[in-house]
Structures are given as C-alpha cells and as structure tokens.
C-alpha cells in the first residue's frame, strides 16, 4: 500500500446502525491537505446548527495529515465537533498514539455520527477495513485508566494501537469532560468527552499495522527526515519542551506578575517556587514520555507517593503534569504544595475532565462561597478554602456525581453557573471557557475570545503580549490573525505546535515534496489564510460573535504586565477585528 497521496480516506461510522463505510475525497486533499482544514470542512458539511451539541445526529470528526508519523513530531489528531461547553464550534487536538494508529490503519479521517442505544466502544482495525461496535456495559462508571486496561486486554495489536476513552464525567455529561488518549494525552478542552457520553461511546480503539511503501526513489525523503530530526534534537528549537517542559513557565510568569492566582485576583503567587518546573523536576519527575513519532518527549511524568497508614505504608501512582495544570489546580486555587497538585490532577484526570476548566470552575466557586453568594449547603456542605486540596478533591467528586445544586451547575461550566447563581463579574473565563495560565495582556484575552478553539494555542496571544513592539492596536490584531493563519497550516499537517520553530512554511513544503506532494510556501500560506476565514464563518454559523461583553469585569481589575486592561481598548481591538472580518467577506 502507498501513502494516500492525492485523497483523504475517511472512515464513516454510524453508531445508531452500527454500520461503517469508507469514502475517498480528492477534493479535500487538494484544498486542505489534512488536519484542521479537513476537519473544519467535514464538520461544516455535517453539523446541525439547529440542534444541541449533545443531539444524537451531531458529528464528531477526527483528522490527521499527510506527514503524520513519517516526519518527526507530526503527532497530532485534530477533532472537531459542536462544543457542549460553549454551544459553538469545537476543535481540540491530542497527541499520544492515535494519529499514528489512524495512519497505519489507513485512514486520514474518521467521522462518527449517531448514538448507540447501550454503552459501546468502537474498534477500528485497519486490517479489517471497517469499524466494529462492541458492548461496553461493563465499563460504565470506570475511570479512564481502568477503561484503558480492560480494552487493552480485549484487543490485539500491542505496540501499534491507540485507545481513547472517557471517564464518568463524560458519561454523565459534564460539559468540560475530556477524552483521554493513551493515558497521558487528551482532547482536553471544549467537552468532547460529553459528546462521546451523549453517543454512549465509551472508547475508540484503533489498531494500525499496515505497511506503507516508501517512494521508489526515497533519497530525498530520507535526507529531509534526517535534516528535520537533527534540527529537532540538536538545536535549541525545542529544548525547553524537553528539559523542564511547559512548567518552565511558572516562575518566569510569576516574576512578570502574569501567573493567575486566587481566581485571578492577582497575577503572582507567593509559593510559585514550590510549584515551578524546577521543583517538580528535582523532586517528583521520574520519566518523560513521547507521542508516537516524537523524539522530544515533553510528557513529564511524576511519582505521586503518599502514606496511607502508620507503619511506613505507602501507595504510589504516576501523574503527568504540565504548566496549565499546575496553574489551574495550583496557583489559581491557592494550592502551593506539589503533592496536593498531583493529587488534584489525578482525581480530575481519572474522572475524565479538562483540568483547566475544572480549576477555573472551582476557583470561581471558592470566591462565590467566600463572598456569601453561595452557601456550603448548596454544595453538600462543602466550604471551599484557598489552598485546601482535600476539600477541592471532594468538590471534584461532587461535581462528577451531580448530587448537589452547585455541583450540577458547575458541570455546565462556571459561565453557565454564574449566569444562574450570580457572580458573572469574577469568572476567569472568556468566550465561555476558562482561560489558560497566563495573565499577560490584551492579546491573551482577545486571543482566547477570537481564537477558534478559545485557546491560548490558537494564536499565542500570551507571546504577542510579551514580544510585540510597538504594542499598537492595529499590530495586535494583525499579529493575532497572521499567527493563527500560520498555525492553521501547521495544524492542517497535524504537526505538534511545540515544533512550530522547526516547521516553518519552507520546511513543510520541502517535507511534502520529499514524499511527492507539491505545495510551495506561498501555496501553504494562502491555504492557511483561506481556512482561517472559512473557520470563522463556521464559528459564526454555530453562534460565535466577537462581543466585548464576553469579557468579565475581573479582567479589567487585575493588572497585567501591560498594565490594567480597559474596556475601551478591548472595544477598539474588537472593532479592528470586525473590520478585518468584514473585508474578508
């Protein structure tokens, strides 16, 4: 078998009927190559803008790219769906082994529609050429780790497979439930786990063991691979992701006053040194792990060891940590102890929830309780206190159980909770989703609002805030759009954005050429800009508007390194964005 060079091969699975079929689309390859571009287009063709995100007919799309696994650090799978958290466009990316398994199963995209009547998991074995729907009643309520173990024991393909699964949170429709990918990675944000739950889809296992032949003359490919490999490993381009990993950001951000703490009442945290990348590396880090096809290995795995009884009795588990998690369940909640942070990450992760959204929801709840806006009685007697990890762990469990008034509201996300319970002024969310762990200035806030995923990774507003000079309104908006359009090229190839310093447009063009795909850097740039506006139009069809009232008052209170933000300047920036949008048609 050869690479699918001129077409996108899609596996369609209908969970209502249990049937699957394969479709080849040359137009998608020609116009979008893969990843984000293909996933935007396929969602656009199938999403029902008049139906709820959790309606059975809503589709879920997964897409990889033509360079997946066959070049270093091309490791991502892009998922698109209607987000149950925001009600709008949903896009989420995950690493792990899923992209590799899909590639060697022979599929460039996977489209799931319908809903099963009883809990199921989906097995996709490339050798068999179709999806098989299997019963999952016995896995109801299982956490993501146990679910992975049970399915591993039921299927073949060890070493060449991926298992993505939801936990109890996804089954119960927590609107920021995630999908766990191969233990340590996730489709984290915007609630794909709840969409799985609504389809009674507990997991998808993909086995990919097909041979894909090199081109007849493979010299250019081998040379290009080695060049990129050496740049990934033997230059500084990706060094920080490997060494301390993303938690390297904790202390520098804190020194800038840009580490959101105590529900963003301040941008610095007194115990930042205790929870920084250096402290975790020196004390808890036991190994690093990589996604299939990535030589960097940014997944930092900690040993979470704790006594459980007198007599030197210890229990231990492995927990992966990152900057965003340390912020969301650490500084934002006033938790300054590494062991407590690992405890909370583990509880949230096993239940199958997005840790950022869970952290921002609990931070809002803590402040609402403190102000007397909520009473502990509404939350099963839980009175949350900054830094009290044990109570936060109980709150995580209560949120998943849904047996308290506050817990049920929090499961809708803090924006919905605040709309009904009050306290909208102090949510740390914009565009319906809790913010990532930076408090750098306008581009971070606007980046979250305008970015397609409502993610700091859409356009790296946090980096624009730190580097842009002069920091003018026009320049901020122009940079945000240009950076997002360039990232669309990278994510349409499903390249990990941590390798964005290696994969400039010229390098992508060369890599494609070495496997027989001709796209100039200019072609790629044009594709990124086109997909940018196509995605904006899809977002708008699903309800997105760039409204200043999406920005909570808290964001105008707490100073950033760029000073205190003002509603007037946010309004001006959005006006510039809207005129750009109008010009694009």
């Amino acid at each position: 078998m050869m690479l699918n060079q001129e077409l996108i091969r899609i596996l369609h699975v209908d969970l209502t009927t249990g049937e699957s079929r394969v479709e080849d689309r040359a137009d998608l390859f020609r116009d979008y190559l893969g990843g984000t571009g293909v996933a935007v287009r396929l969602l656009d063709e199938r999403v029902h803008d008049d139906q709820d995100a959790l309606a059975p007919d809503q589709p879920v799309v997964f897409a990889i790219g033509p360079l997946t696994t066959i070049f270093p650090v091309v490791t991502k799978t892009v998922a698109t769906f209607r987000s149950p958290l925001t009600g709008e466009y949903g896009e989420s990316h995950a690493g792990g082994r899923l992209a590799s398994a899909l590639r060697y199963a022979g599929y460039d995209a996977l489209v799931i529609t319908g809903a099963a009547r009883r809990p199921v998991y989906l097995l996709i074995d490339g050798e068999k050429g179709s999806g098989e729907v299997r019963p999952a009643e016995a896995m109801v309520g299982m956490d993501v780790i146990e679910t992975g173990r049970v399915i591993r024991n039921q299927i073949a393909g060890a070493g060449h497979r991926s298992i993505i699964r939801i936990g109890p949170a996804g089954e119960r429709g927590v609107r920021f439930a995630n999908v766990n990918v191969d233990t340590f990675r996730h489709f984290g944000r915007l609630g794909l786990g709840a969409v799985f739950g609504s389809k009674k889809l507990k997991a998808i296992a993909v086995i990919g063991q097909k041979h894909l032949a090199l081109p007849a003359d493979s010299r250019a490919y081998k040379r290009t691979y080695t060049d990129i490999y050496d740049r990934v490993l033997h230059t500084d381009a990706m060094k920080k992701y490997h060494e301390l990993g993303t938690p390297a950001n904790v202390i520098p951000l804190n020194e800038l006053g840009a580490l959101p703490s105590f529900n963003l009442r301040q941008g610095y945290f007194g115990e930042a040194d205790e929870i920084g990348g250096e402290a975790f590396a020196e004390n808890e880090l036991i190994t690093k792990r990589a996604c299939a096809g990535c030589q960097i290995g940014c997944i930092h795995v900690a040993l979470y060891r704790r006594p459980f009884a007198p007599g030197w009795e210890y229990e231990s588990t492995l927990v992966a940590y990152d900057h965003e998690l340390i912020y969301a369940v650490g500084s934002l909640l006033g938790v300054g102890n590494r062991s407590d942070i690992l405890h909370l990450i583990e509880e949230i992760d096993r239940a199958g929830m997005d840790a950022i959204s869970c952290g921002t929801a609990l931070a809002w709840t803590t402040e609402a309780l403190e102000r007397g806006l909520l009473e502990p009685e509404q939350f099963g007697g839980l009175d949350l206190r900054w830094g009290d990890a044990e109570r936060y762990a109980q709150a995580v469990a209560a949120l998943v159980r849904g047996d308290t008034e506050v817990g049920r509201w929090l499961a809708q996300g803090e924006v919905a909770a605040a709309r009904h319970l009050g306290g909208a002024d102090f949510v740390t969310a914009v565009g319906g989703q809790g913010i990532a762990g930076y408090w750098t200035g306008y581009a971070h806030v606007l980046g979250h609002l305008l970015g397609a995923r409502h993610s700091h990774l859409d356009n790296a507003g946090y980096a624009i805030d730190q580097k842009l000079d002069p920091y003018t309104d026009e320049a901020i908006v122009a940079r945000m759009i240009a950076d997002e359009a360039e990232r669309i090229v990278q994510t349409s190839l499903a390249i990990c954005l941590f390798a964005r310093g290696v994969y400039d447009l010229e390098t992508i063009s060369q890599a494609l050429a070495s496997v027989g795909i001709q796209r100039s850097a200019a072609d790629l740039q044009a594709m990124g800009e086109r997909v940018y506006w196509e995605r904006v139009r899809l977002r708008e069809r699903l309800g997105f508007q760039a409204r200043p009232e999406e920005v909570p008052r808290r964001f105008y209170e707490t100073p950033t390194p760029r000073g205190r933000l003002t509603p007037e300047r946010v309004a001006r920036l959005l006006e510039i964005y809207r005129s750009r949008r109008a010009a694009a048609g």
């Binding site: 066959i70 894909l212 090199l214 493979s218 690093k288």
Partner: protein, 139 residues
C-alpha cells in the same frame, strides 16, 4: 569480533518509536514501524515501563539458522547471530517459530521474515541513548 544490538538503557526510553521508524525507513523500505526488526512496547499501557524486543544474536548455531531449510539464514562470521539472504528464502516461517524469544517478525507484503541485520540504524535515531551496538567476544 561481531557487533550486536543491545538495549541496555531502556529505563530511559520515552516510547517515541524513532528506532522502529528508522529500521522501517532505512532497511525495509517502509513508512510503517510495524516493518521493523526492533519493536518497542510498553508493559501495560502508559503506566508501564518500556521494553525492546530485539534479536539477541544467539551463539552459533542459532535456532533460526538451524530451523532454516535453505541457506537463507546462515551463521554470521564470529559465531553470534545470523546473516540473511533473501534470494535463498522460501518464506516457510520456520525461523519465526524457532526464535526462542519471538523477535522475528513477518513481512506480509514480501512474505518474508523481518530479521535484524545488526546495522545500527536504530541506534543512530534513538534520542535517549537507550540502544547500543557492542562488539562481543565469542569463545
């Protein structure tokens, strides 16, 4: 002295599959890590440790060489491991069955075994120095 592949530092392995991709790319003409004489697996999902299934180059006569009904597999000079000649191979699978540690794979497309040729390409592409080619003395 013969050079053989060893995996002495697998505790450092991050599971990137770079070695498998290198073997497939450089030796077996494939993009697929399935087509590799080294296979990396975790012993129990993400929480497990990483392990390498590799040819340990049995001392002469290796079971795969003994099982081979033709001259496709012969003892390597120096008394460790084997040399594979595809032209002589009849695709009988006996070497796969004879391997005491099940590390001879099967190439479905070619209908031929996937055996280590002790070339060291996987070592070149290991980012964590888990693998090593070593010279062994045979008594």
């Amino acid at each position: 002295m013969p050079r053989i592949l060893t995996a002495p530092r697998m505790a450092r392995c991050i599971g990137c599959e770079s070695c498998m991709l290198a073997c497939a790319r450089m030796i077996y003409g494939s993009f697929s890590p399935r087509k590799s004489a080294i296979q990396i697996r975790s012993t129990g999902g993400g929480m497990g440790r990483m392990a390498a299934d590799i040819c340990t180059a049995c001392a002469e006569p290796a079971p795969c060489v003994e099982a081979c009904p033709t001259d496709a597999l012969t003892s390597r000079a120096g008394g460790r491991g084997m040399t594979y000649r595809k032209a002589e191979c009849i695709g009988c699978h006996r070497c796969v069955e004879a391997c005491p540690i099940q590390v001879i794979g099967w190439d479905q497309e070619e209908d031929r075994p996937i055996v280590c040729i002790f070339c060291g390409q996987c070592v070149r592409f290991c980012p964590h120095d888990c693998l090593e080619m070593v010279e062994v003395e045979v008594k």
